[in-house]
Amino acid sequence: MSDIADRVKKIVVEHLSVEEDKVTENASFIDDLGADSLDTVELVMAFEEEFGIEIPDDAAETIQTFGDACKFITDAS
């Protein structure tokens, strides 16, 4: 697993209080990991902070799964 994926996973585990092995490629933040809409806003903010990037609101809406997040951040970094 890439360094980016490790760091994203750490943030997801911390913010959503979920087991690490639940955070899989296709795991949906809302449907599988117990997040609500406010949690996803906070997650995106945490990604911005960690990777020093800006994620516009329309892009944030497309980040639904752990895999989506890793891909967006890899492309943006």
């Binding site: 913010h15 959503l16 209080s17 406010l38 806003v41 906070e42 903010m45 911005e48 902070e49």
Partner: protein
């Protein structure tokens, strides 16, 4: 009007988390004051307060994990955490966890706070200034709003009745209990979870009250002696934090389910000073009228009052309240006992009226008035017994609790033994 009784109690206080732990320490004359631990307060005019004792949950310590999961706790200010903990204690104590929809629809929540998420607001303002608006958490607003204790409690337990919150500074807790009792009296609900919570021991909170010249500043070397209501050497209040929550219930509803009944809410009176934003009128007129109104609602004459839990903050206003109580009781003043439990726990602001109502209820249960500690040299010769430096065991059928707040807002609650 329906009768309203108290069937559950919950407390997070500077003495302990838990009713019996707090009460036994209060009766023993302990103080919850100390040098502020949570942040470096050495640059402030006051560097001591009555903080909730944090720990693993044993021996009366407060363990946040016992009351809210870390994931949820991160999203709320501490005043909500304290309120949730006291509410959870009270609900468990009352044994009221209905599974049926009708009961949930008939159960409401009314828990207030004087200031709300003060430290969250201060921290977020700094973050905004330093990192810009995109770093403001989506949980900042719902984690700071005063009515969010009521919201959180309703979500946890599924209580779908009236959902409300009071904000009347240091009268909040008393107004919350009084207003909630009226909702039951009028039939809007059968059960209400009511009280107040506060967590304002933070840099901006201490600095703000220091600026009002309201806090004690002279006892950094001996904080446990700083809160000394009625004493000639008092120099301001000592800030406390925590929460008090009660379960109020329609009397017939409580009887029908065989609930343990602590006491009855007999009367509730409210008044305004229309005088000054932070000081009471010199003759204590507002407090007097609140007490008078509460007794009128209770259908009692002043001589029926056995114990008074005073507002008594350890400020100059103590003797004004004392004078008003003495005028109210007249030649019967010598028969009553009055104490200020703020001498032990400090001033819990929006939670004060709630925990002091609970102390009054426990005084009725155990027939003992908790002490006013640090009262070594009374500023005036009192006509009442002030339970100076020792609990006072006596007959207590009726107790009255006073709460007065900035803005000139006053509330009095009259509570009594339940008689058929």
């Amino acid at each position: 009007m329906r009768r309203v009784v108290v069937t559950g109690l919950g407390i997070v206080s500077p003495l302990a988390s838990g009713i019996e732990e707090t009460w036994s320490r209060l009766l023993a004359g302990e103080s919850g004051a100390g040098t502020i631990q949570r942040f470096d307060a050495s640059h402030l005019a006051t560097n001591y307060a009555c903080e909730v004792p944090l720990g693993d949950g044993s021996d009366g310590t407060f363990n946040p994990d016992d009351w809210m999961a870390p994931k949820e706790r991160r999203k709320v200010d501490d005043f909500i955490l304290f309120g949730m903990a006291a509410a959870a204690q009270a609900v468990a104590d009352a044994g009221w966890m209905p599974e049926d929809e009708e009961s949930r629809l008939r159960t409401g929540v009314l828990i207030g706070s004087g200031i709300g998420g003060l430290s969250s607001i201060a921290d977020t303002a700094i973050l905004l200034k330093e990192k810009g608006p995109r770093r403001v958490s989506p949980f900042f607003i719902p984690g700071s709003l005063i009515n969010l204790i009521s919201g959180q409690v309703s979500i946890r337990y599924g209580f779908k009745g009236p959902n409300h919150a009071v904000v009347t500074a240091c009268s909040t807790g008393a107004h919350a209990i009084g207003d909630a009792a009226r909702l039951i009296q009028w039939g809007d609900a059968d059960v209400m979870i009511a009280g107040g919570a506060e967590a304002a021991i933070c840099e901006i909170g201490i600095a703000g009250f220091n600026a009002c010249k309201a806090l004690s500043t002279k006892r950094a070397d001996d904080p446990q002696r700083a809160s000394r209501p009625y004493d000639a050497d008092r120099d301001g209040f000592v800030m406390g934090e925590g929460a008090g929550v009660v379960v109020l219930e329609d009397y017939e509803h409580a009887k029908a389910r065989g609930a343990k009944i602590y006491a009855e809410i007999l009367g509730y009176g409210l008044s305004g000073d229309a005088y000054h934003i932070t000081a009471p009128s010199e003759d204590g007129d507002g407090g007097y009228r609140a007490m008078e109104a509460a007794l009128k609602r209770a259908g009692l004459t002043p001589d029926a009052v056995d114990y008074i839990n005073a507002h008594g903050t350890s400020t100059m206003a103590d003797t004004i309240e004392l004078g008003a109580v003495e005028r109210l009781l007249g030649d019967k003043a010598g028969l009553a006992t009055m104490s200020s439990t703020k001498s032990s726990v400090g001033h819990l602001l929006g939670a004060a009226g709630a925990i002091e109502a609970i102390f009054s209820i426990l005084a009725i249960r155990d027939q003992v008035a908790p002490p006013t500690i640090n009262l070594d040299n009374p500023a005036v010769e009192p006509k009442l017994n002030l339970a100076a430096n020792g609990k006072h065991e006596r007959e207590i059928d009726v107790a009255l609790s006073n709460s007065f707040g900035f803005g000139g807002t006053n509330a009095s609650l009259v509570m009594g033994k339940v008689t058929d």
